[in-house]
Symmetry: C2
Subunit: 341 residues, 2 copies
Amino acid sequence: MAKVTRDDVARLAGTSTAVVSYVINDGPRPVAPATRERVLAAIKELGYRPDRVAQAMASRRTDLIGLIVPDARQPFFAEMAHAVEQAAADRGKMVLVGNSDYLDEREVHYLRAFLGMRVSGLILISQGPSERAAAEIEAWDARVVLLHRRPEAIDDVAVVLDDVGGAQMVTRHLLEHGHEYVACLGGVESTPAYGDPVTDHVEGWRRAMKEAGRSTDGRLFQAPYNRYDTYRVALDLLAGPDRPPALVCATDDQAIGVLRAARELGIDVPGELAVAGFDDVKEAALTDPPLTTVGSDREAMARAAVDLVLDDGVRTTGSRRERVRQFPSGLVVRRSCGCGG
Amino acid sequence: MAKVTRDDVARLAGTSTAVVSYVINDGPRPVAPATRERVLAAIKELGYRPDRVAQAMASRRTDLIGLIVPDARQPFFAEMAHAVEQAAADRGKMVLVGNSDYLDEREVHYLRAFLGMRVSGLILISQGPSERAAAEIEAWDARVVLLHRRPEAIDDVAVVLDDVGGAQMVTRHLLEHGHEYVACLGGVESTPAYGDPVTDHVEGWRRAMKEAGRSTDGRLFQAPYNRYDTYRVALDLLAGPDRPPALVCATDDQAIGVLRAARELGIDVPGELAVAGFDDVKEAALTDPPLTTVGSDREAMARAAVDLVLDDGVRTTGSRRERVRQFPSGLVVRRSCGCGG
DNA sequence: ATGTGGGATATTGTCGATGACAAGAAGGAT
DNA sequence: ATCCTTCTTGTCATCGACAATATCCCACAT
């Protein structure tokens, strides 16, 4: 079956090709109702679908938004990606998702690929220092909005959470339960990265500990960002001689790994070990015990990111601070901290 | 910064535009080494990136593969999507992922969108009867490979698992543990769909029960395909008067919901209730107890799907049967069935 | 010298739409 | 009737690359 083009439609409708275009994306010129009907009928009869590639070519636009995440298999990113898709769909845009797999190289790869596809904007949940990504963005003069994480190298508009405040909040909460101290499970990055949520979580924990007059020395542990590796790390940590009485994790996924390890070792949560996570992924409500964590309005953040990337104000001037849109985080109390029952 | 086009490169390198193309995708004509060097230098100096849209326009090809899944937030689909991405990357293709959210309308939406973007092929993990999808595929004369599920309406090449055999296998295994009978937790579809894995799982369970001389009457239950809803359904099911001694679930995600409900109710697994899932998602190894399930070589299936969609033989003739590539499933024994410890 | 073969490079039509601009038609005012 | 408006519709250059075809250049055989 040969491809149906706009010319075929025009021929059948007895009009010019321009009119067909006018009907399709109503504008830029008005079309007489009768003509419109004929064109519509022809389109339906032939089963014509405009070729998006050609449209993009001619109009120099697309209704695509690129979204790059570290790993869409992780619940948090999956949920965030879904929220972005929804927000984009509400504005008639489609989202292309790329997984960087926490690799600089793949991040740049997708950046290039998406930009080459002329996406109308890019939302980036970055990883690592991202200097190469920054260079790429610069080279293309691309519209980019950073989401969730804000690498120092990339100076674009960002939509982030109050990570420090959130972590401080949970830590305080755990402290209020009367634990002698609260340990922290952070990430594995060697160099604490500026603008990194996990780094901020650690900072929040530090502040809460300090204001409570507790020392943080030797109480910060590290684990990868996924439940599987964290599970292994936690087995050691919890089986060791100085198991902390309470532990705040930088992400829910890590907390889930910890919970699993605790069960394996027969450690009662929250009786013998209080645990808290961060992110409030859907699954946090279904762990055993349900996980106390820090939540945010993910839909609102996704919407903000989409709006920023599509509307003005993205490449506005202003200090770095002013170009960051920070959302509040809220404590989600469940049972893993020792509350309720 | 104005966009750098191929013409700019040609000008700087002092050659014609065609030569630049020849260098970029070496061919179809040879280029003298010296010239190639000059072109390469010019490309680097200008930071030139070929415009993918224009390339697609002119060459009538893209290196894109569309993948439509019901919901990428579910572990199984997320893992499958990842495997497809890997397989595609190995062949130099990029994957575009769309979520149908189990809606016919969105399935067609993505089908249209991807086809309009001239993807070189489509891999479809379909849902529902998909008549509209079938019509769309027909209209575009698209290269489609069905993965995981094979709706009756769409008669394309398919890559599937031996779902019946797998379910039969686990059911037998549970039966061998000496349970009086094994109940089954299937999906919620009103009309059992042809080519649907879950329907096949139920069929496998039925066969295993029959060959063991057990009745299946009143022993088939239903729940949605995700852990959250299944958790609620399971609370009722397990708290009821005739709780089954063993339960095979149509998916791991459901089994995880069941496990959670059992814990909530204080029912020991596998002591008081043996549980098995299907899919062997990564998480199955980390549940408590670890989940006995049915696995498959996901990478091989993804590779097969990608190969089929890119190579010949896709629209080959042959009976429906012959155009289905079925992979074997294998029992993954862990502890939720009562084995080991 | 002249012809010739073939590798390297240039020219150009094409893909399928968009949208600026030109042009045509219809209706109103003078 | 003639001339403007105003509303619709048609023409065509354009987007940025590909690739078929044409052309050039030069070594080599005759």
